[in-house]
């Protein structure tokens, strides 16, 4: 029994960064912007979280710093694509390349240092309950944040006026502009929210999951998060399924490597990436699902006419 609980907890840990980053990107894409820089923002969050935790001794300050750094870093992308209407695909790539380089430089002095792990929150009595105790009441703050953010985003997008405005900007920026909605401002805010979430996702890696600083430690998770948004067909709740599916694949291949399955480790390591491709193909084949939910203005530049 305890084995299964610990496996499920490790799946939660593997899924949380994916879920956080993907939820942020979902909001960005719902506003009509495609930010391929998730990987870069995430790795910046990871290094910011780790270094601030090292300097202050407090992992929560680290997580806070990761949020701020992620949001600030995404501003570069926002300025380029929203103010200067540069190509979104290329600008997102630039953000990723810059993030990987910059984080490597900042984190150089932290390589090999023992990390400060964010401890699980143990709610007395409740966390001692069998099975559910550890799962529901005994995890770290970032796990709860990831679930909360999904719920909050689902509510915001589909139950509030501001959420409707954001979606209208993503579906038709010219109509939204004609209605007097400030398209650029909403998109700036959405991109920064995405950056903050990606930053926090990175902090989860360097403060909970690994917890160390390793250069390029995101290892493609930012890209998997992007794929998850497509998988979820831009619906927040479906992100939960997707992220946990990928978390499970990741943990499964770890366990397979640990018990010595007679398959080369490299093939097992490839599994999550392979799974991403398979999932993308399956989703793309379902044309109706994608057509209905894809934000119609996704990736298109907008210059307000005056």
């Amino acid at each position: 029994m305890d084995v299964w609980v610990s496996i499920i907890i490790s799946i939660c840990a593997a899924s949380t960064p994916l879920l956080l980053a993907a939820t942020g990107e979902l909001v960005v894409e719902r506003s009509g912007v495609l930010n391929l820089g998730v990987e870069g923002m995430m790795v910046m969050g990871a290094v910011a979280g780790f270094s601030v935790a090292q300097l202050t001794g407090n992992p929560y300050l680290g997580a806070l710093a990761a949020i701020v750094v992620g949001a600030l870093f995404s501003l570069i992308f926002a300025f380029l694509t929203l103010t200067l209407v540069a190509n979104q695909v290329a600008s997102g790539l630039a953000l990723t390349i810059l993030g990987l380089g910059l984080s490597g430089m900042i984190g150089e002095s932290f390589v090999g240092r023992p990390g400060i792990k964010m401890q699980p929150i143990d709610i007395p009595i409740l966390s001692d309950l069998p099975v559910v105790g550890k799962l529901v009441f005994g995890q770290d703050l970032l796990f709860y944040s990831s679930i909360f953010i999904v719920v909050a985003v689902a509510y915001f997008l589909f139950k509030t006026r501001a959420g409707l405005m954001l979606r209208s900007v993503g579906d038709s920026h010219s109509s939204a502009h004609a209605l007097g909605i400030n398209v650029i401002k909403i998109r700036y805010l959405a991109v920064m929210f995405g950056g903050a979430c990606a930053g926090l996702a990175g902090a989860h890696l360097s403060l909970v999951y690994v917890p160390q600083w390793v250069e390029g430690m995101t290892a493609g998770r930012g890209w998997i998060a992007l794929a998850l948004v497509v998988f979820a067909s831009w619906r927040p709740w479906r992100l939960l399924i997707g992220a946990y599916l990928f978390g499970a694949v990741t943990i499964a291949q770890f366990h397979a490597q640990a018990i010595g399955v007679p398959i080369p480790a490299q093939f097992l390591t490839s599994l999550p990436y392979l799974a991403t491709i398979v999932v993308l193909v399956l989703i793309a084949r379902n044309r109706r699902l994608t057509m209905i939910n894809t934000p119609a203005a996704l990736g298109q530049p907008f210059v307000p006419d005056r």
Partner: protein
């Protein structure tokens, strides 16, 4: 204060030539600021990065060696990007090209023949093209997002090559280091000059640049590429098929990335090991944009990015500047290139917010 864009009537000819230089200048300024923040003398650092390597014959050779794969990959990417196909996985196609191209000299190590090199190059190109065919067919058949699939394939390619050089192809006498046996002389791409590291891959790059330049600017295929890239709808009316174009663009760019891979394996490393790439497939994206997706411009851009690699090594040795600074430089450069390209299509006005409200 706010920034306003005003669409130009026609693309500015002046800025389409000027913008890469403007971007370079801005990158140098940003670099100088970065070096002073690191507590280094910015003038010395920039000199070490961008001038000193040019004064030394060994460094000049190394620049050519590194510019070769960058240029080959970027020329292929230009075909993709111009046609609206986002191949982000050139790194994977480069690795697989290098691996497939190395098959003959690894499995038949003793085989010496003038046929060997052409076969290796052809197999490298085929390997890269086949690997690029996966995202292409997924996009054209199922509408799968090619950005994500081609990128995921990079991670898979890294694992495949890693497995091959540690597992089945590992040299048993390699002191435990991952990598194959060194090729015999007939599997090694000859050097350009005596006592030089620069190999014939550089000639491939120049020839490819001319051929693709000709195709893009003088043939119907080139016209088809730009029509489909700028307006897929207009392309359909002209009877062009976007799906066939996706396959064509990916195959071309995969083949060139594969050629880059096998040229590097055969000309520079002379065996297949786990350090085949310095991230050339990603740096080539910067090269492609800096060269404004023009094959001849790309040759110049590849030279500049290769210079930054060599200068980075020099700065690390002589000034203790982290080699990560090179990647920061490259990332900044792409930002400035993209930002400056705005000037080609728009006039930028900076207005004070008081006056702006009319």
């Amino acid at each position: 204060m706010r920034i306003e864009l005003q669409k130009r009537q026609a693309a500015s000819g002046v800025f389409s030539y000027l913008s890469p230089f403007l971007a370079l200048a801005l990158t140098l300024i940003a670099g100088a600021i970065m070096f002073s923040l690191l507590g280094k003398n910015p003038a010395t650092a920039l000199y070490t990065y961008f001038i000193e390597p040019l004064t030394d014959p060994w460094s000049r050779d190394q620049i050519i060696v590194k510019a070769t794969p960058l240029a080959l990959i970027a020329i292929g990417l230009a075909v993709c990007f111009r046609s609206g196909n986002w191949n982000i996985g050139a790194e994977g196609q480069y690795l697989i090209g290098g691996m497939i191209g190395a098959t003959l000299p690894v499995l038949f190590h003793e085989w010496q023949s003038p046929l060997l090199l052409p076969l290796m190059m052809a197999m490298g190109m085929a390997g890269g093209a086949l690997y690029a065919f996966i995202p292409a067919i997924l996009k054209s058949r199922f509408g799968t997002n090619e950005i994500l699939t081609s990128l995921m394939l990079v991670y898979i390619a890294q694992q495949i090559v890693d497995w091959v050089v540690r597992g089945p192809w590992r040299d048993p006498k390699g002191m435990g280091f991952p990598g194959t046996k060194s090729f015999n002389s007939s599997g090694i791409l000859p050097d350009l000059f005596k006592h030089s590291d620069a190999h014939y891959g550089a000639v491939f790059a120049i020839l490819t640049a001319v051929i693709i330049w000709f195709m893009l600017s003088k043939t119907l295929k080139g016209f088809e590429i730009s029509v489909l890239g700028q307006s897929p709808r207009a392309g359909r009316f002209a009877g062009f098929s976007a799906k066939q174009m996706t396959v064509f663009a990916f195959l071309t760019s995969g083949a060139l990335a594969g050629l880059a891979g096998i040229a590097e394996v055969s000309g520079s490393v002379e065996k297949l090991d786990d350090k085949l790439s310095l991230g050339y497939g990603f740096t080539a994206i910067i090269v492609a944009f800096l060269g404004r997706l023009n094959p001849l411009g790309i040759l110049a851009a590849a030279f500049i990015l290769a210079l930054s690699y060599i200068g980075g090594e020099a700065a690390q040795i002589s000034m203790g500047i982290s080699d990560r600074a090179t990647r920061v430089f490259q990332g900044l450069l792409l930002f400035f290139v993209l930002a400056c390209d705005t000037l080609i299509h728009y006039r930028i006005r900076i207005t004070s917010s008081l006056k702006g409200k009319t």
